[in-house]
Amino acid sequence: MEYEVKPRFYTVAEINGLIKSEMENNPYLSNVWVKGEIYNLTYHSSGHIYFTLKDDSASISAVFFKYANKNLKFRLEDGMKVLVSGGITVFEKRGSYQLNVLQARPEGAGELQKRIEQLKKKLSEEGLFDQLRKKELPFLPARLGIVTSPTGAAVRDIIKVALRRYSNIEIIIAPAKVQGDDAAASIAAAIRELNKPRWNIDVIIAGRGGGSFEDLMPFNEEIVIRAFAESAVPIISAVGHQIDHPLSDDAADAAAPTPSAAAEIAIPLKSDFIDEIEYLKTRMTNSLSNNYLNYKTSLKNLTSKKIFRDPYEILNSRQMMLTDTEGRMVNLMKHRVSSEREKLLRLPDIYRLQKRLLVQKKHDMELLIQNLNNLSPLNIMSRGYSIVLDRNRSVIKSVEKINQGDTVEIRFSDGSAVAAVNSVKKEN
């Protein structure tokens, strides 16, 4: 029997799809670190970065998308040795693959970085970076010391900025090598030189312009960091850097990202001081003249008061008060007198009334007396009646009180007679 293994035919798209699926799902290929040198670098206007990563024997395309490279702290350059991480992606249409870069760092940084970290830890434990050690920068420095290469851009930038800010500053440059094997020793020696009292320096700027990670290494050397920390003169670390700051920044009294910025920190703007003094002078002058004007106004207000203008005023007002009181008193008295008089005038009426009442009473009395008269026994007797009295001169009102032989007195209206009772006869 003959078996014919029928080959399976794929379309190109199918095979590319299969490869894509295989590669992109492979955990080993989706997260790798690759070491290489950059070339054919393109910073595309879209924000994506395209380059080829190569070493001596091979190359691979790489893409660094905008979303991933936006946090990149340094600029990639052709020829730069880098360490990148990311995953392999397949472009099905062309059957090509590339490295999708998620992060990148300069190669070689790793070892040095580790050394720096160790040194940092050691010096930090010694207290070299303590905030308490940091000195305040002078308010108005007269002499600026610079430690850097006399031929580099850094010294020019510092001088330019310093003179622009303060035209009559004194500058002492202590030249130092800022790259090469003896750079660290040279920088440290220059810092120590400027600390000698004979130079009478107020503030030091020590640093260099920007460079590669390796270029800045002298400012991560222990001897340099110690020189910064031990400087009795306030010192500013001025190393141009973009990614990690050098340890000299931690040891210095102040740090700046560029030499120019250091000069701005160290040297005050003379015109600010001049403006400030002028401003204070103006404030003083204004205050003084305001003060003078205030006193003048107060004085004017005082002297223009009526009492000073017309001293009789004080008398007049008292006079007026007196007159007023007097008038009121007189009026009161007048009123009182007239009211009393009115009362007096009303008195005769009462008298007349009393008199009339008396006349009436008298008349009534006369009438009464008349009536009384009519009732008087004498009056009755005058009409022919008489009264019989006993021996005790009591009136005998009944025949029973009288006996035969009694002597009685008979009273008449005009006299009396004594009589003897002859007989008594009682009637009903």
């Binding site: 308010f139 108005l140 007269a142 002499r143 290469s149 006399p150 031929t151 010294v155 020019r156 930038d157 510092i158 001088i159 330019k160 900025v161 003179l163 622009r164 303060y166 035209s167 009559n168 500053i169 004194e170 500058i171 002492i172 440059i173 202590a174 030249p175 130092a176 090598k177 003896d182 020793a185 040279s186 020696a189 220059a190 030189e193 130079w199 003379k270 001081f273 001049i274 400030e276 003094i277 204070l280 002078k281 404030r283 003083m284 002058t285 205050s287 003084l288 305001n290 003060n291 003078y292 205030n294 006193y295």
Partner: protein, 98 residues
């Protein structure tokens, strides 16, 4: 600086400027009598003059230290272009003190 301390050449610019500001504040406070405010004003003017004088005290001068053959470090005056900060006679410069 103490209130009654006289200005001396040793008084720092910073102290004098602070005193000047204090004087201005005092005058603006409006609590001084006329005589006192004139006294304060005079003091302030003296301070202002002193500050201005201090600002001009430094002399514009740029020197570069160089190590001689005898090992001694000496200052050498150099000319610079102020607008660029460029040292004009760069050719003679040594790169280091060591």
């Amino acid at each position: 600086m103490e209130k009654d301390k006289k200005l001396s050449p040793k008084t720092s610019f910073e102290d004098a400027l602070q005193d000047l500001e204090d004087v201005a504040n005092k005058l603006e406070g409006g609590e001084l009598g006329l005589d006192d405010s004139i006294k304060e004003f005079e003091k302030g003017i003296k301070l202002a003059r002193y500050c201005q004088q201090k600002l001009e005290e430094a002399e514009r001068k740029i020197e570069i230290l160089q190590k001689g053959a005898d090992g001694e470090v000496k200052p050498g005056r150099v000319a610079v272009k102020p607008d660029t900060g460029e040292i004009e006679d760069e050719d003679d410069l040594q790169g280091s003190l060591i």
